[in-house]
Amino acid sequence: MSIFRIWGRAAPRCLRLTATLLCSACFAASALAQVLQLAPVAPVAEAEEAPALSLQDFFQKPVGPQGLLISDRLRQANGKVVRLTGYVVQQEIATVGRFLLTPRPVLMSQHADGEADDLPPATVFVRLSEDQQDWAVAQTRGLVELTGTLEVGRQEERDGRVSWFRLQLAPEAIRGMTRFELTQYLHSLQHAH
């Protein structure tokens, strides 16, 4: 298994095979990992992937004249481990320890708009694990698949926003970038792929 050191701390282990754009940008780091490991990495929990739940199925659509009608599927998934697919919301002011996941890409101009925002009703507040609360997730374009424990119900967040759908990620879901990776990544922005 490859282990990445991030900013002087040991990072969470990489447990799953990934095909991210970021990994392709950090080819050198991967090459190093190849040297260290003797066999292709196999996911530890290969047997069962958590059931997938679509953000499209959270509530009855179209929304009627009042509020949201939570779907039975969502209600049954409350408290369980699920797989969600969506877009990471691009935030003007990045929040640490959490990010937002939506069925469509959204840009938030928090300074100008505050809570008069373009977030759809099916916005999931995705929480990093306890000891990752001071980390920020890099803006990741395109669809992202996440596995975590789903929580449905009203909660007031630290910044005063009310969330209705939350996903608690395990520490393994987040991988800190090495200094080298970050440099490579920023460098790759200026050149054609």
């Binding site: 799953r16 095909a19 004249p65 100008a112 009203r154 991988r175 970050l182």
Partner: protein, 674 residues
């Protein structure tokens, strides 16, 4: 400033020291704000009011010692004592950081002055040891003069963030050019008078939508993020010194009604800045409650837009209501009890479980949740109208039109479907209904119509989306103009709160859309820019085909209009309309965990064949600029709006027209009045 509790000996020492250095209580804030108080200069006058327009007097007083207190305070105008009880509030823990616990606010709510001219405002405070302090400020009462025709209805169409470049871009897209001449002008282009407006707020040359709106409808500068109030030293966002709005003044003195139509969440600053008084534009629960609870002050009759999340009880999924964004005035604390007593305002309550939608309906508001239900309302019988068409902001014009066109083809799964609100009305459709309801108001009305996402999409530097929102806005302008042409006692102004993003129309694409896509696939960088951006005569006249629904059949035309941004953040540019991404089930390529993360620091952005435009501002969004914006006017009194004017001047021109009749501005034809 922290003062610890002193022992008697050290207190004596300090008192001796104080007497030696003549410590005295101080006045650290005086409202209404003035340069006279801040810097000692009598000019420029900061606070101006109409004769009889209500406003609050307030001062923050600081004892010179932690052991002392302020025992009394009184206000005087032009040396004459203000005949009202002064409400004192000791800060304790209720004030901003850095304000000592024994600082005291002294307020007199809802005063007004009739005599025109500049007036001196004084506050005199007495400390517990007998020492006094006096401070001076000033304000002006702008006279109302006998004029010509009286205006019965006022329509303010506000394109949020809409500067001159945004208007020009919309004209190019909607009307097209032939050999340099416009084929079909925008409705706002045909207004006979246009002036330039200075948009600075009370605390910056760069304003935001809160003071950007309230300057027009209160005659006064507010701080950024604050609406209908002057700043104070408490953390409570609803107890600030208030300024009476145009809607409140005209409702109180003439019985006029108020209509608010927007494509934003209705709690947002532009609609709220016509009717709600708060120093926190984000206090959503309290703001929407105040819309209903203070409708007897504002005459609120029509409210349409997004923001349904604030109207559901907090037990309903999706509700955003919460105590943190709500308010409740204490009945025993005279500091806020006087707001209720002297303004006649509602006391509020921490009521996140309130069924506000139901309360609106019980108050006689017909409710529309989508275009179909809006059209189904018997509009000629509806006395009041509430429309809540989206969870927060409504979807933008480009996405609403896309939804309609696809629905007509039997295709679902578009952006509006994903949001769960597939049947949202366009701004002109909402405006038409609002006008039908308000037209029946015997005493006339004030209507504010906002094209909100011109600004929101300019922040996102999403060119096509703000261009089409400007087209949508102009269609509402055309309706207002037609109404005013038929009801010739109606004054219409088209304006903006500020400019957004420093939009610049830099040229036209040298290539077809197909070639542009190929260039993007080949890889970006400055090679993309150099191949695409046609400057000077290379730009020609971009030609958009307008479909029967009034919008371009596509914005991805060959030789498209190209837009740059002067107030931009870092972004990746490929000159094409930002993708309407496929639904998740249709996307073949999905990134799986783990996601890359970093300790909070610089952001990395994805590339994808685009070229990186380095931003002038930090963050991800473009920002507002200080540039003057054009204001166009139609109807009686339109000539009043020419020149380079302050946004607060607009309020006095509107009020003059609606109370004593229209007047020619000085210097326009050599005479002051008709």
């Amino acid at each position: 400033m922290k003062l610890s509790v002193l022992s008697p000996l050290s207190a004596l020492t300090l008192l001796t020291f104080a007497m030696t250095t003549q410590a005295a209580p101080t006045v650290t804030r005086l409202s209404p704000p003035s340069e006279l108080f801040s810097s000692g200069q009598a000019a420029p006058i900061i606070a101006r009011f109409l004769p009889g327009q209500r406003f609050d007097l307030q001062a923050t007083l600081r004892p010179d010692d932690a052991a002392k207190s302020i025992s009394s305070a009184r206000f005087a105008i032009d040396g004459k004592a203000v005949n009202a009880n002064v409400a004192l509030k000791v800060c304790e823990t209720a004030c901003l950081k850095g304000v000592p616990a024994n600082a005291t606010l002294a307020s007199v709510r809802a005063v007004s002055v009739d005599k025109p001219g500049v007036h001196q405002l004084s506050v005199t405070a007495t400390q517990s040891d007998g020492q006094t302090v006096t401070a001076h400020g000033n304000f002006e009462i702008v006279p109302l003069v006998p004029g010509g025709q009286k205006v019965k209805n006022i329509i303010i169409l506000l394109g949020d963030g809409m500067g001159a470049a945004q208007r020009t871009a919309a004209r190019i897209v909607a009307g097209g050019y032939a050999q340099g001449k416009v084929i079909a002008p925008l409705a706002m282009d045909t207004f006979p008078v246009t002036g330039l407006v200075k948009t600075a707020s009370l605390n910056s040359v760069i304003t935001d939508s809160a003071p950007g709106m309230t300057a027009y409808v209160s005659g006064n500068k507010n701080n950024n993020n604050e609406e209908g109030v002057f700043p104070d030293d408490t953390t409570d966002p609803f107890d600030n010194p208030r300024i009476e709005y145009l809607s409140e003044y005209l409702h109180r003195t003439q019985g006029k009604a108020l209509g608010l139509v927007t494509t934003a969440d209705v709690f947002d600053a532009t609609p709220a800045g016509n009717a709600v008084h708060t120093s926190s534009r984000g206090a959503g629960t309290g703001i929407v409650d105040q819309f209903l609870d203070d409708r007897h002050l504002t005459g609120l009759t029509v409210l349409m837009g997004g923001g349904r999340k604030w109207f559901m009880p907090s037990t309903t999924p999706g509700s955003a209501r919460g105590d943190r964004t709500d308010y409740a005035f204490s009945a025993t604390d005279v500091h806020t009890a006087d707001i209720v007593k002297r303004w006649g305002a509602a006391a509020g309550a921490l009521d996140k479980d309130r069924d506000l939608l139901g309360d609106f309906q019980r108050a006689g508001f017909q409710y529309a949740s989508d275009k179909t239900s809006m059209d189904a309302i018997d509009i000629d019988k509806a006395e009041r109208l509430l429309g809540l068409f989206a969870h927060s902001n409504m979807n933008v014009a480009l996405d609403k039109i896309d939804g309609r066109r696809n629905k007509a083809r039997g295709v679902n799964g578009r952006v509006v479907d994903d949001y769960g609100f597939p049947d949202q009305p366009m701004l002109d459709e909402m405006t038409a209904k609002a006008l039908r309801v308000l037209d029946r108001q015997k005493k006339g009305f004030v209507l504010m119509v906002e094209g909100a996402s011109i600004d929101k999409q300019a922040h996102a530097m999403d060119t096509e989306r703000w261009m089409l929102d400007t087209l949508e806005f102009d269609r509402a302008v055309a309706l207002a103009q037609a109404y005013a042409a038929q009801h010739q006692d109606t004054l219409v102004i088209v304006t903006a709160d500020h400019e957004c993003a420093g939009v610049a129309l830099i040229g036209g694409s040298k290539v077809s859309d197909a070639r542009l896509q190929a260039l993007v696939r080949e890889g970006g960088g400055t090679a993309l820019r150099d191949a695409v951006v046609g400057v000077y005569e290379q730009a020609g006249f971009p030609k958009y085909r307008i479909a029967t629904d009034g919008y371009p059949d596509t914005v991805d035309i060959d030789n498209r209009l190209l837009v740059g941004y002067g107030a931009n953040a870092d972004r990746m540019e490929d000159f094409r309309t930002n993708e309407r991404p496929l639904q998740d089930s249709q996307q073949p390529f999905v990134k799986k965990e783990p996601l890359a993360a970093y300790p909070a620091g610089p952001m990395a952005r994805d590339a994808d064949g685009k070229y990186m435009v380095t931003g002038q501002v930090p963050g991800d969004s473009a920002v507002h600029t200080a540039t003057d914006i054009p204001l166009s006017a139609f109807g009686p009194g339109a000539y009043s709006f020419t020149g380079v004017i302050d946004n607060t001047d607009v309020f006095f021109k509107l009020a003059q027209a609606a109370t004593r009749g229209v007047v020619l501005p000085v210097g326009l034809m050599g005479t002051a009045r008709k």
